[in-house]
Amino acid sequence: MRKNRRNFGNSSTELKKSVREKLSDALELPKEITLDVPHITMVGNIDMVIENYKGVFEYSNTKIRINTATGVIKIEGDSMHIKEITSEEVSISGKLRKIEYI
C-alpha cells in the first residue's frame, strides 16, 4: 500500500511536471516562472544571485543554506555575506567553493 502510494505519487508529479515542461517548451516561457524553480546566476566564484527562492535556512560566513522549490541549496565558501536580500532574490558575495542540492 505504502509502496503503491509512493509509486502513484511519483508518477503523478512526473506527469504533472512533464505537462508543464512541455507547455513552457512549446510557448518558450522561462522555466523558472512556469516550473517555479530557482534561477541561479554566478559570476566566477565571487558572486551569486538566486532568484525565486523561498527562504534562508542557515546563514554564516562559511555556510549558507537556502530553501527553494527544488530543494535546499547549500553553499560553502569563505567570508561570504549577503549583499542584497529581497523577497524575490538573494545576492551572495564572497569566495564560493561549493554549491550543493540537498
Binding site: G55, V56, F57, E58, Y59, S60, N61, H81, I82, K83, E84, I85, T86, S87
Partner: protein, 395 residues
C-alpha cells in the same frame, strides 16, 4: 552599483546590529514583509550587521520582537539625517535657495552671441542689427521672439538669404547664409554692346551676333567698344538694326608686381624667455591683474581667452585672459646678391598674381631688375596671360 549607493545615500539608511539566536528567522520575516536589506554581514554566531532604509527600519522593530532579536543602531547614514541635523540653520537653507535662484536668473540671460557663416557681411553690422531687434548680450532670453527677429533680419539685411537663431543655454547661435548675387547679365531680348573690361591685345574674337568693331591684334583699352549691337542697314535711309550681341573676346593682358631688393632681412626669433599675464573678465569688463610694464625690449604676445562654461552651451560671463609674452630677438641676415634678388622676385610675383582674375590663364612671366635713381634695385615681374575681356553692356 555606484548609482545605487548614491540613491541609498540620498534616501538615507541605518546601519543596525541585530543580536539573537534566530538571525535567519529575522532575515526571512524581513523579506516576507518586503523590507529591503543589504550588506548583511555575520559578526559572530549570534550577531549580524546590516543596512536598512529609513522606511524599512520602522518596520524592523516589529520583526525583531517576533524573531526575539535585539536591534540597535550603529550609525545613521544619508542626506535626510544631515538635513535633520541642520534643520535649524535657516541661513544655510536660505543661502541654498539664493544660490539656486542666482544660477537660474544668471542663466536666463544671453551672455554670448556667436555668428557663423558670414563672409561678406561684417559681423559688427549683424550684431548691430540684432541689437536693434532685441537680441543682445544681457537680454532676458525668455523675452526674445526668435521668429520676429529672423523675419526682420531677412528684411533689414539685404544680403541675407537665410538666417537661423538657436539659443543654447546662455549662448545665442546665429547662422547666416548669404545671398549669392547673380552676375550682371543683360536680358536676352534686349539689345546690347560688348565692351572691354581690361586693357590688352585682342588675340581671338568670335562673334555670334552683333558687329565686330575690333579685330585680332588690336590694342584695346578698358571700356572700349568691342562688338556693337547696332548693325547698320544695307539699304539707304533705313533705321539700323539693334541686336543682343554675343561674342567671346580673348585678349593678352599684363599684370605687374614690384618689390625692392634688400641686402638683408630681419628675422624675428623667440629667445625662449616668456612671461604670463593674467586678466579677469567679469561681465564683459577686463580687469588686469598685473600693473608693471613688460620687461622685454621687443616682444610678441598671444592671448588665450578662457571663459567659464557649464557644459558646452552654458557660458558664464566670468573668465580669464592669459597673455603669453615671448621675448623676441631681431636677427639680421645678410643675403647674397643672388638670394636677395630671388627673394624680391618671389615677392613681386606674388604681388602680381594677387591681381590676376580667376579665369585668366598665365602664358609667361618675366622678371626684370631695374635700378632706380637712388641706387635701389627693384624687381619687376610681369605676368602675361590670356583672358576673356568682353562684357555685355546695355545700350
Amino acid at each position: 552599483m555606484l548609482l545605487m549607493r548614491l540613491w541609498n545615500y540620498m534616501r538615507g539608511y541605518v546601519i543596525i546590529i541585530v543580536e539573537g539566536y534566530f538571525l535567519e528567522k529575522f532575515i526571512n520575516i524581513c523579506t516576507h514583509r518586503q523590507i529591503y536589506l543589504w550588506d548583511v554581514r555575520i559578526l559572530n554566531n549570534c550577531a549580524m550587521c546590516l543596512k536598512v532604509s529609513i522606511k524599512g527600519f520602522k518596520k524592523v522593530r516589529g520583526v525583531a520582537r517576533k524573531s526575539k532579536c535585539r536591534v540597535r543602531i550603529k550609525r545613521k547614514v544619508g542626506l535626510p539625517f544631515i538635513l535633520y541635523r541642520y534643520r535649524k540653520r535657516k541661513a544655510l537653507f536660505f543661502g541654498l535657495l539664493i544660490f539656486v535662484a542666482i544660477i537660474y536668473t544668471l542663466t536666463s540671460f544671453i551672455w554670448t552671441i556667436e555668428i557663423k557663416g558670414n563672409k561678406i557681411i561684417p559681423s559688427e553690422s549683424i550684431i548691430e542689427t540684432l541689437d536693434s531687434l532685441g537680441l543682445y548680450v544681457g537680454r532676458f532670453k525668455h523675452r526674445i521672439n526668435i521668429d520676429n527677429i529672423v523675419t526682420n533680419m531677412e528684411i533689414l539685411i539685404d544680403d541675407v538669404a537665410w538666417i537661423g537663431i538657436a539659443i543654447n543655454g546662455t549662448k545665442a547661435e546665429v547662422e547666416i547664409v548669404e545671398r549669392v548675387r547673380a552676375p550682371h547679365i543683360v536680358d536676352k531680348d534686349k539689345p546690347c554692346d560688348i565692351i572691354a573690361n581690361n586693357d590688352g591685345i585682342v588675340t581671338e574674337i568670335t562673334v555670334k551676333s552683333g558687329a565686330a568693331v575690333v579685330k585680332t591684334g588690336d590694342t584695346v583699352k578698358k571700356g572700349q567698344l568691342l562688338v556693337s549691337g547696332t548693325i547698320p542697314s544695307r539699304y539707304e535711309g533705313q533705321e539700323p538694326r539693334l541686336v543682343h550681341s554675343v561674342a567671346s573676346v580673348l585678349a593678352r593682358t599684363w599684370y605687374e608686381g614690384f618689390s625692392d631688393v634688400q641686402d638683408s632681412i630681419i628675422i624675428k626669433s623667440k629667445t625662449g624667455k616668456k612671461k604670463h599675464r593674467y586678466s579677469l573678465i567679469l561681465f564683459g569688463k577686463q580687469i588686469n591683474l598685473h600693473r608693471n610694464r613688460i620687461a622685454f625690449d621687443k616682444y610678441e604676445q598671444n592671448e588665450d581667452v578662457k571663459l567659464l562654461s557649464l557644459g558646452h552651451n552654458l557660458q558664464i560671463p566670468i573668465g580669464l585672459i592669459v597673455k603669453t609674452i615671448h621675448e623676441i630677438n631681431d636677427v639680421e641676415l645678410i643675403l647674397s646678391q643672388e638670394q636677395a634678388r630671388k627673394l624680391a622676385a618671389d615677392t613681386a610675383l606674388k604681388a602680381a598674381m594677387d591681381k590676376l582674375p580667376i579665369h585668366a590663364r598665365v602664358e609667361r612671366t618675366d622678371t626684370y631688375f631695374v635700378e632706380k635713381s637712388d641706387g635701389v634695385i627693384t624687381a619687376n615681374v610681369v605676368v602675361e596671360c590670356i583672358e576673356e575681356i568682353g562684357e555685355q553692356q546695355q545700350m
